[in-house]
């Protein structure tokens, strides 16, 4: 069995959920490098899409894991403004220490995630519907509470230098520090999904929830934890944006819902669950960010960006389907080169 370690490279490549998204990323990058010219390839060009990718990536990662586990969370669309408003109201409006503000924002994320998780697990209502409900509920709550507490829908916040350095400054004037948080999150989620046994649980839950439960996996606990993860991550993105831009608005973040889902799907995660990778989610996020920002470096009208994203999404899904079929069909040539 010693030859087990020497696998044909093709099989391993095909079996990876991110193979399709890697091709997509390369295509998109080459496209914009050609049409965007030197500015796109420069450091500021890279910063423009990396900054977009970082905030989006931090929410796309837990959304991706949820999707691999067969669930969906669209309440992030109002969890991001909830996170910014929480930190701005607590630390900006009421002048509480920034740690209290950050703690409040993350705690709200955890609570909303917990509610999402418990509702999905207990009621067996599809998570799309449950989180659609909390999306609106949280948006209304944030708007109502902001007006009651501060009398406005936009609150300023002046964070101290430590908080600024950690969460909201531009490295070298161009790269958001959020990029490092994104890298850290990707490493953490990558470890959980691909190296820890919890990853196996998540994949199994997405594959067949009933069998997973019968095999002894605490599916309810894992589902609730995953929803809490996405709530906390969305709140984190919200609070770091508030600290970065020194202010928070009630209505910012709805675009994240679909952008995160697009990134995850382009990254090779199967919408119905059971298949996907963290590398794929990261590549999908970068692809999305490059299309989103790259258009400004080309001579094209920026209005075309949505068209490209739409076509890209369809192509990505088709390509990922093809690769998945190849992965299923692939087995090393039998009876040859075996000793």
């Amino acid at each position: 069995m010693s030859n087990q370690t020497r696998r044909p490279a093709l099989g391993n490549l095909l079996r990876r959920p991110e193979t399709g998204s890697l091709l997509g990323l390369v295509t998109v990058f080459v496209f914009f490098a050609v049409f965007g010219g030197a500015d796109f390839a420069s450091a500021t060009g890279a910063a423009s899409w990396l900054n977009v990718a970082a905030s989006l990536g931090i929410v796309a990662l837990p959304i991706g894991l949820l999707m691999i586990a067969g669930e969906l969370d669209i309440s992030i669309g109002s969890m991001i403004p909830a996170g910014s408003m929480a930190v701005a109201i607590v630390s900006g409006h009421f002048h509480a220490p920034i740690l209290v503000g950050i703690g409040t924002a993350l705690a709200i994320g955890a609570v909303v995630g917990f509610i999402n998780g418990v509702l999905v697990v207990r009621t067996a209502v599809p998570s799309f519907i449950v989180t659609l409900g909390t999306l609106f509920a949280v948006a209304g709550l944030v708007l109502g509470l902001s007006v009651i507490l501060t009398g406005t829908t936009s609150v300023g916040i002046k964070a101290g230098p430590e908080a600024k350095w950690l969460l909201g400054h531009f490295i070298g004037g161009t790269f958001q520090v959020t990029i490092f948080w994104w890298i850290a999150a990707a490493l953490l989620f990558g470890f959980v999904l691909h190296y820890s046994h919890y990853g196996n649980w998540i994949l199994a839950m997405g594959g067949d929830k009933v069998s997973a439960r019968n095999a002894g996996i605490p599916t309810e606990r894992v589902t609730i934890l995953l929803f809490m993860c996405s709530g906390v991550s969305a709140a984190f993105v919200g609070l770091s944006q508030a600290i970065l831009y020194n202010s928070a608005q009630v209505s910012a973040g709805q675009s994240y819902i679909f952008n995160a889902i697009i990134s995850v799907v382009v990254g090779g995660v199967l919408l119905t669950g059971g298949y996907g990778s963290v590398v794929g989610i990261v590549l999908g996020t970068i692809t999305f960010a490059i299309v989103n920002q790259g258009i400004y470096y080309t001579g094209f009208d920026a209005n075309w960006a949505s068209l490209i994203i739409g076509i890209l999404l369809l192509l990505a899904v088709l390509m990922n389907n093809t690769f998945r079929k190849l992965a299923l069909a692939y087995s090393p040539a039998r009876g040859k080169s075996r000793t």
Partner: protein, 272 residues
């Protein structure tokens, strides 16, 4: 003789007003194959669900090795050594062989919170276990389960059950979706499991498959046990008759007999 490995005593199960199982008593011994035969809707799957902890019996007891057991969940039944393999075997088509083999029981290495899934060991054990059952085509634990043939998936699921120490293996229509050659392979695996001292409950409506591997047969008709016999006590025709609505046939015969008795021994006229 010692107490049977698994013993059902007067099991009844009703869903509301509908009686699905009526007074079922069965015994299975270690190293024996019990074939559970019956038409669709005869109550076979309800009986399996009671054995695998999905449903609870309305009345009656399940005993293992002479002791009464009470299954509250599939996990509970699994802890008692009862493993169920369904028709399509591998249920996680997009997981690798090694990963799906160990779902819920992952081998780990490392320490503390940094324990990682031991993929290589998982793959090696899974591949070895399947090869031991004669599926030598499988040699790569990273292959996806969905890429295996139906028979290979059955073998993988059976290998998994055997590996985790199942003493009772319930196979739900394992050959129904397979071609002749693959079915023969699965039947051979059933015999191997039996040889290892596992009690196998083999659910099927294919009489030929049942007769090939069975030591003991039970036929369910409309939720009741219609027949219970050992190998060699009935012919294939008798069993087929029994399954193909033997009951309806008996009714028909009784009607004809009644007609003849009341018509001076003439059989009923046949419509031309």
């Amino acid at each position: 003789m010692t107490a049977p490995l698994l013993k059902l005593t007067n099991i009844n199960k009703s869903f509301g007003p509908i009686d699905v199982l009526i007074d079922i008593s069965l015994e299975v011994n270690a190293g024996e194959v019990l074939c559970l035969l019956g038409d669709n809707g005869a109550g076979k799957s309800t009986l399996i669900k009671i054995l695998s902890g999905v449903h609870k019996a309305t009345s009656g007891t399940v005993g293992m090795r002479g002791k009464i057991v009470d299954f509250n969940s599939p996990r509970d039944a699994g802890d008692h050594g009862i493993a169920t393999v369904h028709q399509f075997g591998g249920t996680f088509p997009l997981m690798s062989i090694g990963r799906s083999f160990f779902v819920g029981e992952e081998p780990k290495k490392g320490w503390g919170p940094f324990k990682i899934l031991d993929r290589k060991r998982a793959n090696d054990i899974a591949v070895k276990a399947v090869r031991e059952l004669g599926i030598t085509r499988i040699d790569d634990g990273d292959r996806l389960v969905g890429g295996l043939s139906g028979g290979e998936r059955q073998a993988l699921a059976i290998a998994r059950a055997v590996h985790f120490g199942a003493s009772v293996l319930i196979l739900d229509e394992p050959t129904a979706a397979l071609g002749v050659k693959e079915a023969a392979h699965v039947l051979r695996i059933v015999l191997q499991a039996r040889q290892r001292g596992i009690a196998v409950i083999f659910i099927t409506h294919n009489v030929i498959h049942a007769l090939t591997v069975g030591d003991h047969f039970a036929v369910l008709i409309k939720g009741a046990k219609a027949a219970d016999f050992r190998k060699g006590e009935r012919t294939r025709e008798e069993i087929t008759d029994l399954m193909a609505g033997g009951e309806h046939m008996a009714e028909l015969e009784a009607e004809i007999a009644a007609y003849m008795a009341s018509h001076d021994g003439h059989p009923p006229p046949v419509a031309e």
